[in-house]
Amino acid sequence: MAQITLKNLAHSYHPTPKGEQDFALKEMDHVWQDGGAYALLGSSGCGKTTLLNIISGLLRPSQGRVLFGDRDVTDAETAERNIAQVFQFPVVYDTMTVRDNLAFPLRNRGKDAAYIARRVDQIARMIGMETILDRKARGLTADAKQKISLGRGMVREDVNAILFDEPLTVIDPHMKWELRTQLKQLHREFGHTMIYVTHDQTEALTFADKVVVMYDGRVVQMGTPEELFETPAHTFVGYFIGSPGMNLLPAEIRGSTAHLQGAAVPLGAAYGPISGRTQIGIRPEYAVLTEGDGLPIAIRRVEDVGRHRIVRGEVAGQMISVIAPEGMPVGSALTHVRFTPDRINVYADDWRVAPAEGAV
């Protein structure tokens, strides 16, 4: 096991990249702590899988180095890196039995038979397949096959890291939850570094200690689920995390006030001069409907999602979402919306701006 360091890493699928737009992965430095449970979150095509394949050595980066501990493994083969990886779609060896499938990575590494048998039984119990160990893998359902893939990923105890590439896409919701819990438990038990790629925020937030959000080939933020929620470093994080995502409103920032089409919104802190396109971001959870305090809102739609209602309305020409807690009546008397000042984040050209130091 080792800490995984990415140095000046970038990757392009073009043989001769001409500019930044040709890079699937923009230049980045990143450290994956030994034993961490990470989720790599982002929309489709943002470079998550590319990054994963570079770590596992399936892909050689066009520039930069990959270090495992102190060892430079940029040019090392996947097998040398001692990594386990589970893919999005089930990969099973059809002609082998379930048992042989699970034993395959161990046999290839020349482990002794008694150890393999013990380990395979253990994993089979974990994925709930101990009764069908002697069946051929061919003809099993997609989620059974994926469980075998997961099992093959976890069967080796001495791996440097286990990488999961959206492994639960094909699994039905109930089993999904159960497997995720098992992965989490496995992580606690053995302390492997785990990197879990997903575009499902619930999956990411429940699995990981640290969530890494990627957007357009870049890591835009790494943090705990709470940090991602409270202080998104990029508008994409605000929009992608949360249900619904953060409201973004174009505003002009002067000191500790934001001006939106004539209306003033107090901010929790003062800001220095900001250049670029400025926006304020406020989570629907921190917006409150009032009878006259705050900005005028024209309510367009109310969605009841069970625990609370999502109110969609127009503020200063922009659609925003507000969460109305259970029990609160939503009626025509509510004409305004108030944003909790210290929960407002300020963005310039999509990146979060920290409040000016020493300002009140």
């Binding site: 399936l58 996947t78 097998a79 990594i83 060896y93 002609t95 395959f104 290839n108 590494r109 003809g139």
Partner: protein, 290 residues
């Protein structure tokens, strides 16, 4: 309202029935007719029963031809199948060179059979053929006209040249359908090259490979044109395969009765083998879909 019963729709299948009757049933029945009769021309037939079948089953000439035929099919399958797989595994997967390879591989398949025969007939000649001439220059005593072994080698190499592409292209198609994740998983699992072939590539190719073997077996078992053009079945009878022998018997000697009996047995053998292949193939599919 009463439903009218109208069976006129059956007339719609008439064109197909007529077509099949003329293309298959009537010719086959003619052959059956010849097989159980003796004829001296003038459309005079004398009932012979199973006499011709009896004669053919016990004919040394037919046994020899069948032996040569089986040997020929076995040899070309033993060469073309592994070679085809090997070529398919080593063909580029995509890009410019993949297209170039595909076109080059397809070329021999597009050449008419008698032209293939003619090409090799000339290619192998010792006096003017490129191959024959230079083999002679290198000191090989090569002459497919007089030496049975040389004749066999020529016919086999010709068939390999002509048909390996078919096996390779079918296997290539099978290989192309394997998602990249399988190869990646194999690398992560530290599988050897052999294990990748044995557990990933071969199982995925099994279906098309079976079709390739079936096609190659049937075609080689019925081979006529190419060896006929190159060697004419010689020297002696050494490259006289079943079809060539059959034509000699029917057209050369005008022994229509024995030839017809021979044809029917030949047909049944091929039908039997195809049926076996078909059964194996559908069983494989069933296992796949379980």
């Amino acid at each position: 309202m009463e439903k009218t019963q109208n069976n006129k729709a059956w007339f719609l299948v008439l064109p197909v029935l007529v077509l099949v009757a003329f293309s298959a049933v009537i010719p086959l029945m003619t052959v059956v007719n010849y097989a159980v009769n003796d004829t001296f021309g003038n459309n005079q037939f004398f009932w012979a029963g199973l006499e011709w079948f009896d004669e053919m089953v016990n004919s040394q000439r037919l046994h020899d031809a069948l032996g040569r035929q089986i040997l020929f099919s076995a040899i070309i399958l033993a060469i073309e199948v592994p070679l085809g797989i090997y070529i398919a595994l080593n063909m580029p997967k995509k890009g410019f060179w993949a297209s170039v390879c595909l076109v080059l591989m397809a070329l021999p398949l597009l050449i008419p059979f008698n032209v293939v025969g003619t090409i090799w007939q000339i290619f192998g000649r010792v006096d003017i053929g490129l191959l024959g001439h230079y083999l002679a220059k290198l000191g090989f005593d090569y002459n497919y006209v007089s030496d049975p072994v040389d004749a066999w080698i020529t016919v086999i190499v010709m068939d390999v040249w002509h048909w390996t592409s078919l096996v390779a292209l079918l296997c290539y198609a099978g290989l192309q359908s394997i998602p990249n994740a399988y190869y990646q998983a194999a690398r992560v699992d530290q599988a050897s090259r052999w294990a990748v072939f044995r557990y990933i590539e071969l199982p995925k190719m099994a279906g098309v490979l079976l079709i390739a073997v079936l096609l190659r077996f049937m075609d080689s078992f019925m081979i006529y044109t190419e060896p006929f053009v190159v060697t004419g079945g010689g020297p002696g009878n050494s490259t006289t395969f079943l079809s060539i022998d059959l034509v000699k018997m029917a057209i050369g000697q005008f022994d229509l009765g024995p030839a017809a009996a021979f044809s029917i047995m030949y047909f049944l053998v091929i039908l039997l083998v195809s049926w076996v292949f078909y059964t194996v193939m559908t069983n494989l599919d069933k296992e796949e879909g379980k």
